[in-house]
């Protein structure tokens, strides 16, 4: 009952949220100082030509009118056209987002599966060898810039050892992509029974996933350790010890109480990762949403940038919604 009410309240809040996001992305791109018309017209264009393009794009209209037109069409699912490709922004996003999600979801699963147990283990025996080693390891992978780690991984595993395929997309050139079901080439080729494509997709996934999951695992270790340490130092764990509870029971109580803050942290992290994946995509020519978005920003592709930021924001707010629901179920103090 409470969950339904809560969900209704949260969903009602999404409407002003989306409007706000649309407004902010629109304004940010406008005041960004890039002149799309200039780029579109090229250096050889005359004054009259530039004016014509400006009029055709509707950029001669007042800003509020431009926003009104934009907001209206976005709500109808029309995000405009990318002037670089001439294709609708929505199509561009839909064809690319599965590539990003494939990389993102596998990496976050792996990063979490490594980060959380390592952090918990470190918190069980603080300042002992395991804790120190995991702390140094997470500090290093936390401090190294994403693109540099990706380049080094390529340097070692592609150039040096030759184990990894070249960083040019998600499949070998000679392999045909499978029919789209989930959007993940690897899973789709397995579903289609195409072992050659599956192998190629997996091979291309290994390095970017490795790099990105390391980047995700590092702060996860630190956060998990801090959360578990706080729980283990709490009054109720102290009393459980004084009441002679067994090790297993104490561990169970501690885990249960660490769960909600850890899930909250991972959710907040995940919400920002769709943007963070862009640099990894760029290095590996992944052809995902992030790479496309970065490109749009560089070339002042207004409609595309707006679409990109809007997708990032919608992704973040849906992740928050899901996390809030999980917390609501797991945490009695929320259900008042």
């Amino acid at each position: 009952m409470i969950i339904v009410q809560y969900l209704a309240r949260r969903l009602a809040f999404v409407i002003p949220l989306v409007l706000g996001i649309v407004f902010i992305t629109f304004m940010l791109v406008r005041i960004g100082g890039q002149d799309a018309v200039g780029m579109l017209a090229g250096p050889m264009a005359g004054k009259a030509e530039v004016e014509m393009i400006r009029r055709n794009l509707g950029l001669d209209k007042p800003l509020w009118e431009q926003f009104f037109i934009y907001a209206q069409s976005v709500l109808q699912g029309d995000m405009g056209k990318s002037w670089q490709s001439g294709r609708p922004v929505l199509d561009e996003i839909l064809t690319r987002i599965s590539a990003s999600l494939e990389l993102l979801l596998i990496s976050i699963a792996l990063g979490t599966l490594v980060g959380v147990p390592v952090g918990l283990r470190a918190a069980m025996k603080p300042n002992k060898a395991f804790d120190q080693i995991s702390r140094i390891a997470s500090l290093i992978s936390f401090s190294v810039p994403t693109y540099w780690m990706a380049l080094m991984a390529l340097f070692v595993f592609f150039l040096g050892l030759g184990w990894a395929p070249p960083p040019m997309g998600r499949l070998d050139l000679a392999v045909f992509p499978p029919a789209t079901v989930t959007g993940s080439y690897f899973i789709d080729s397995l579903l289609a029974g195409d072992m050659q494509a599956a192998g190629s997709a997996a091979g291309h996934l290994v390095l970017p996933v490795l790099v990105f999951s390391l980047i995700i695992a590092a702060p996860t270790i630190k956060q998990t350790r801090a959360i578990a340490l706080e729980v283990l130092g709490s009054d109720y764990i102290r009393l459980a010890r004084l009441y002679g509870y067994g090790k297993g029971t104490i561990r169970r109580i501690a885990l249960r109480n660490s769960f909600v803050p850890i899930i909250t942290y991972i959710g907040a992290e995940l919400a920002t990762l769709l943007a963070a994946v862009a640099l990894v995509e760029l290095v590996f020519s992944w052809g995902g949403l992030g790479q496309w978005g970065l490109n749009a920003i560089l070339f002042g592709d207004f409609a595309a940038v707006q679409g990109y930021v809007l997708v990032l924001a919608l992704f973040a707010s849906s992740v928050y919604l899901i996390v809030d629901l999980i917390v609501l179920i797991a945490e009695p103090r929320m259900r008042r």
């Binding site: 709490s234 109720y236 009393l239 004084l242 002679g244 067994g246 029971t249 109580i253 009695p332 103090r333």
Partner: protein, 338 residues
Amino acid sequence: MSLLSVRDLHVHFVKRDLKNQVRTAKALNGVTFELDQGQTLGMVGETGAGKSLTASSIMGGLAGSAKVVQGSIQFEGKELVGLDVETLNTIRGTGITIIVQSPLTSLDPLARIGEQLIRVQQEHAPISREDARNKALDMLRAVQIPEPERRMEAWPHEMSGGMAQRILIAMALVNGPRLLIADEPTTGLDVTVQAQVLDLLAGLVHSRNMATIIITHDLGVVSHYCTRIAVMFAGTIVETGAVDEVLNNPRHPYTRELIDSVPERIIDRGYRKVGRAPDLYHLPSGCLFRYRCPMAAEICHSVPPAKVVGPGHAARCHFAEQVNEAMPQAAMSQTAAS
């Protein structure tokens, strides 16, 4: 044989500072006392005197850097010092139990009250959920929780402080312990609730013929609920005896000082400026109280023996016989508190 016998207990905190030098804080320096069934011992003394540390030592709950370096703690004839956790866990929570001063944060926030009352039983005995549930309900009635059936389903965050302390008392007593340590059980509670909780506790302890240690700052609590008192200073018991005897006829200057610090006394006799506790990292030799003692003399550079000044009444002071008579009254040192 006493139920609990603590002998010459020394506890040190050992740490390394930034220069990797070992620094030792001597927190307990030879605590000795005994406790029998049915007795209630009040432990008083200022913050840092070692009251809670004594309790933690008995419960085997010393924090990381604290270690028992000397002495023995025997419960029902069994040595507790140096016991491994598994064996210790067969005693604490069943034979010895504790209630703490922060009941609200000491309950597992993610388990219902009933669940926690059942858990504490099942951790110690192979008891069915049904039986454990019934015992939990009986216990909730015994601590006078209204609507116990409904409370079993409640969450800790739905409790008031007084209610949470009753739940904690129920958890502490449900396994039938012989010794209860109440570590400042009412510090966090409303004044009106304090008396209720203490009365309840006293009744339960009495009907079960348990031994109790009440750690408190409140001499009023001691005189009302305890049969014996132990006054602690800088990690030693400086005076012990029957409550009425010690409070009416203190034989250690520190006890005298404590009694004179009770608000009613201050109004009567004036406020006496007290000194600080000694630095546990650099304990002086001889009597630890001599730096702030109005009676200090040359002889106080040697460790005072525990002098027996009456039946069951002892004080660690060279001048134990003279204290109450010879010590300057508080009124002489300063005017009444304004």
